[in-house]
Each structure stands twice: as structure tokens, then as C-alpha cells.
């Protein structure tokens, strides 16, 4: 709870820093705020679970753990906004504040206990992201991404809300535990059709937000057009918060209607894995490949939802989100530095990077191996735990399919690695090293180190929840 208050208040304070007309202070201040919030969040870990606002928000270990992921991801991502500081971007204070405010939305999504808070949280997160997607105002591709994201996002919100209204009509409450009791109550049987339609519409609404097939169309376009820094934020924080919210909804509210929704979600899982992985193979732009890869990772996370295996699912999704977020931040950070200098987003833009910037190439390689799920990286154990939870519940066929799809993944994740290590730079200009500050290098090393530590000692965080 204190993290929500701190982020809101300090976010506003950060906004006022914009009046000083000194962009230099903004980045350190924003990072300091996040360090403070992370510390405050950790303090909640050992406290007993507490409810706020008439039981509409509950801060327990589940919410503290996922809050930790989103805050840490943002903290590790922030140093790569350094170019905006250097370029004297006019509205920088607003962008940092919007990032902080959107984190408030993410935290509400992971700690909600009432559908009202879920809705408000999703909207705080999304509305900030609509603005940030279009933050490169004169770039037509950024404009297009903002409009597409906005129209698709508010369409999804409408569908989610209609679902919430129907579930409310069937159970008479917005409170998760009471909805769970209402769904299980045989006296409500006459409302079952309405309840099922409401559930389906809610699933569609949330699937839009986490970009799961068949509601993923907007993802590649939006991810490609949005400035790279905010794409990284979108594909990590929004996804983590979305899945934490989804798991909570399914576990607490709809667990007694499993026979209805497990086949639905399973079909979506298969479709998401297929479209994400096969789509990524066909791409020539590294940024667009990462967009499709984020769709495929939504598919792997869905396996944790299908399994719905209590603690195993929660821990699996937590570990996967953490490993995925760190690897994705590393990949996007390297890509952003390269794109900023070389002005090209295709694989060829990465050519010869191993010679000019061995560190960047190494970090990118570790990130790609983790996303592909190669052993000794965090991504491997992420997949391992989720698949384990699903096998435990007897979904063997689904797991076999997911393993085959992750083999497809190896192909496209290795393409940037091949470009960096085996192809020479195309022209003179590309042969000059990419500019990286010492601090950014340190953060990149930290990201690679975290990925490897998660892969070597997964037990550090795999049983937290």
C-alpha cells in the first residue's frame, strides 16, 4: 500500500521538477524514487496480509512479489532513457511521471480484490501507455502506434466492462471471494449462461491487454512504432501485471467453473504459441521479432493459467515473469542503443556488433538464450516450472506442443546472435562502436548476471510465494 502512495506523491513531485528546466536531475531522481519504492515494498513482505479501502485492495505476499518485479524492471530500464536527457527533450518530466503513475496502475492490478480496482488499475496503466506510445510526436510511425493502441485498448476495455457487468448481474457482487462463492453456489444455476458469457468477455478483455492470440493483431504494429524505450516497458510491466491479475481472477473468482474455461484458455494457449512463434520466424526487423516473441511468451504464461495448480502456478508465473522481464529489458536495452546510433531496426543493423561492442553483443546473446529457454539461463527454469505445473495436472499434450514451439523459438532467437558474431559490419559508419555510458554498461552487466544467477540458482526465488 505504501508503494502506491509513494509512487503517486513522488510522481507528482517529479512532475514539478520539470519546472526547473534542468533535465539532468530527472533521471537520477526518478531512479531514486523507484529505489525508495522498492525498499518500501520489501518492508511489506513480512507483514501479515492487509486489506485497504473496504477490502478492495489486499497487500499480501503475492502482490508484494509481483510489485517487486514491475518496480525492479522499471528501475533497470530507466538508465537507457539517457539519450532523451542528452537531447534536451522538452517534456521529459511528464514522461517519467507517466511511467511512475502507470506503475501505480500495475500495482493495483496485482493487489486487487474487487473488480472495480482491477478496472481502475488497468485503465491507469493503459491510459499512461497510450500517451507514451505516441510520445515521439513528429514521427508518423509513433502516431500510428498510439492511435492503434488507443483504439484497440479502449475497445478491449469496453468488452472487459461488459463482462464485469454480466458477472455482477449473475453473482450480485464485485468482490473476488464472493464471486467465487456465487459461482460455486448451485442456487445461482439459472444465471449460469449469463455468468459464462460474462467470463468469456472478461477473458477477451484481459487477453487484449496481455496480447494473447486471437486478440494480438495490434501488438506487432504498436510495439514496432512505439519508441523502443517504451516498447520495453510495455512488453514487460504490462504483461507481468496482466498475468498476475489474470491468475488471481481465475484462482479466486472462477476456480469452481474450471470445466467451462479450461478448454477455452487451452485453445487460446495453443493459438498464441503458434502465432507468436511462427510469426516471429517471418520477421526481418529485430524489434518486430521481439514483438512476436512477446506474444509467444504470453502463450507460455498461459500454460501456468491452464494448470491452475495453486502455489505451483503462482510460483511458476512469478519466476517466468521475472526471468522474461529481465531478459527482455536486456534485449531491448541493447537494441535501443544500436537503433539510436545506426538508425535501423533489421537484423543487419546488428552486424559486426561483437567486434565493435563485445559487451553489448554478449548481453544480447545472454538475453536471447534466456528468452529461448536454454539451460543455465533464467528462461530455462521459467519454462521448466510452468511445464512442470501443467504436467502435474495431466496436460501432457499441451506441454509437448509448447516444447516443440520453443524449439522453433531457438531459430529466430539465434538470428541476432549470428548477425552480431558472424557477419561483418555493412559500411564504415556501422563499424564505429555504439556509444554506451559507463553506468549503462554496469546495468547491462547486472542484467546479464541476474539472468545467469536465475538459471544457476533458481531456488533463490522459485519458492517465494
Amino acid at each position: 500500500m505504501i508503494s502506491i502512495v509513494l509512487l503517486s506523491v513522488l510522481g507528482i513531485a517529479n512532475l514539478f521538477l520539470g519546472f526547473l528546466r534542468s533535465n539532468r536531475m530527472l533521471l537520477p531522481v526518478a531512479m531514486l524514487i523507484l529505489v525508495v519504492v522498492f525498499g518500501a515494498n520489501v518492508l511489506d513482505w513480512n507483514a501479515a496480509s492487509q486489506s485497504y479501502f473496504n477490502n478492495m485492495l489486499t497487500i499480501d505476499r503475492y502482490s508484494v512479489a509481483f510489485t517487486g518485479i514491475v518496480v525492479l524492471t522499471t528501475l533497470l530500464l530507466l538508465p537507457f532513457s539517457e539519450k532523451y536527457v542528452r537531447d534536451g527533450e522538452a517534456n521529459l518530466a511528464e514522461y517519467y511521471s507517466l511511467l511512475l503513475f502507470s506503475l501505480v496502475g500495475a500495482i493495483m492490478m496485482v493487489s486487487y480484490d474487487n473488480l472495480l480496482m482491477l478496472f481502475v488499475g488497468i485503465e491507469i496503466l493503459s491510459i499512461s501507455m497510450y500517451v507514451l506510445a505516441g510520445s515521439d510526436k513528429r514521427n508518423v510511425r509513433s502516431n500510428e502506434a498510439a492511435l492503434k493502441y488507443f483504439l484497440m485498448g479502449s475497445f478491449a476495455t469496453g468488452i472487459l466492462l461488459f463482462g464485469i457487468a454480466l458477472v455482477y448481474g449473475a453473482t450480485g457482487t464485485f468482490q473476488l471471494t464472493q464471486i467465487g462463492a456465487g459461482v460455486a453456489n448451485p442456487a445461482n444455476a439459472s444465471f449460469t449462461p449469463m455468468l459464462y458469457i460474462g467470463m468469456l468477455l472478461m477473458f477477451i478483455g484481459i487477453s487484449f491487454k496481455v496480447s494473447a492470440a486471437p486478440f494480438h493483431y495490434w501488438t506487432p504494429d504498436v510495439y514496432e512504432g512505439t519508441p523502443t524505450f517504451f516498447t520495453a516497458f510495455m512488453s514487460t510491466v504490462v504483461k507481468t501485471a496482466g498475468f498476475a491479475a489474470f491468475l488471481k481472477l481465475l484462482m479466486i473468482a472462477f476456480s469452481s467453473a474450471q470445466s467451462f474455461w479450461i478448454p477455452t484458455i487451452m485453445a487460446m494457449t495453443v493459438l498464441t504459441l503458434l502465432i507468436g512463434n511462427v510469426g516471429a520466424v517471418a520477421q526481418n526487423s529485430a524489434k518486430r521479432m521481439l514483438a512476436y516473441s512477446s506474444i509467444s511468451h504470453a502463450g507460455y504464461l498461459f500454460i501456468g493459467l491452464v494448470a491452475l495448480n495453486g502455489k505451483l502456478s503462482a510460483n511458476g508465473i512469478f519466476f517466468y515473469s521475472l526471468a522474461y522481464s529481465i531478459a527482455t529489458v536486456a534485449a531491448f536495452a541493447v537494441l535501443k542503443l544500436v537503433i539510436d546510433q545506426r538508425q535501423r531496426e533489421d537484423y543487419d543493423g546488428l552486424n559486426g556488433l561483437a567486434k565493435t561492442n563485445p559487451l553489448l553483443a554478449f548481453v544480447m546473446t545472454v538475453a536471447m538464450l534466456s528468452l529461448a529457454g536454454i539451460p543455465l539461463t533464467g528462461g530455462f527454469f521459467g519454462k521448466f516450472f510452468l511445464f512442470g505445473a501443467a504436467v502435474d495436472k495431466g496436460h501432457i499434450g499441451l506441454v509437448v506442443f509448447a516444447v516443440v514451439m520453443s524449439m522453433v523459438g531457438i531459430y529466430y532467437y539465434l538470428r541476432p546472435v549470428i548477425a552480431m558474431y558472424m557477419r561483418p559490419a555493412i559500411d564504415e559508419e556501422d563499424a564505429t562502436p555504439v556509444a554506451v555510458t559507463g553506468f549503462q554498461s554496469a546495468v547491462l552487466v547486472l542484467l546479464a548476471l541476474l539472468t545467469i544467477v536465475l538459471g544457476v540458482l533458481p531456488s533463490l526465488v522459485s519458492n517465494l510465494l
Binding site: 491510459i127 505516441g134 492511435l147 488507443f150 475497445f155 469496453g158 455482477y168
Partner: protein, 110 residues
């Protein structure tokens, strides 16, 4: 005026509210999927949100539970925030394209 508002709402059977809200919602969805002007698409999204508001109010009156009506206030407030951001984005698009037709937006294609 000696009846209170929930009683007035309850003079119409509940299923009529459900049919009406569903029809309104379907009109909104159809509009989003078929129209090509960003402003009209936006209006259709607002129509969907208003269908939700009617449905929530009706359920709330029938169940004598105020939570549904509170939810409506939140939807209105959030929709207003969304409108301000959305219109901002559409104005930005209009400045760069001199048009708000979504078919023009095809620079990002695979």
C-alpha cells in the same frame, strides 16, 4: 414523486434492460469493426461503455445493491480521462496526416 428511483427502474422487467444494453453494445462493436473514421470508432466505443452503464444500473436496482451504481461513476470518470487522451492522439494524427481515416495508417505492416 413518492416512488424512489430504484422502484421506478424496477417497473420495467430486468430482461428488457439486458436486451437493450446488449443491443446497444452490439451496435457499438459493429461500429468499431466497420467504420473507418477514428472519431466515429471512438464514438462507438463510448456507446459500448454506456451500454455497460445501463446494465450495471439495472442490476444494481434489481439487487438493491449500491455497488453497481458506484461502479458507473468510476466508468464515467475513467471514460472522461480516456476521451481527453484519445482526442489528443486524434488531433496529433490530424496534424500529421490532415485526415483521421484509419486506412491511411499503414506504415506499420508486415
Amino acid at each position: 414523486m413518492d416512488q424512489n428511483i430504484p422502484e421506478v427502474i424496477r417497473t420495467v422487467p430486468l430482461q428488457y434492460y439486458i436486451y437493450f444494453a446488449t443491443a446497444l453494445f452490439a451496435i457499438g462493436v459493429t461500429g468499431v469493426l466497420t467504420r473507418r473514421n477514428a472519431i466515429i470508432i471512438f464514438m462507438c466505443i463510448e456507446l459500448m461503455l454506456n451500454a455497460v452503464n445501463i446494465l450495471l444500473t439495472a442490476f444494481s436496482a434489481y439487487r438493491s445493491d449500491p455497488n453497481g451504481q458506484i461502479f458507473v461513476f468510476f466508468i464515467m470518470a475513467v471514460a472522461a480521462a480516456e476521451v481527453s487522451v484519445g482526442l489528443g492522439i486524434i488531433v496529433m494524427i490530424y496534424r500529421n496526416f490532415q485526415n483521421t481515416d484509419v486506412n491511411l495508417l499503414n506504415r506499420l505492416k508486415w
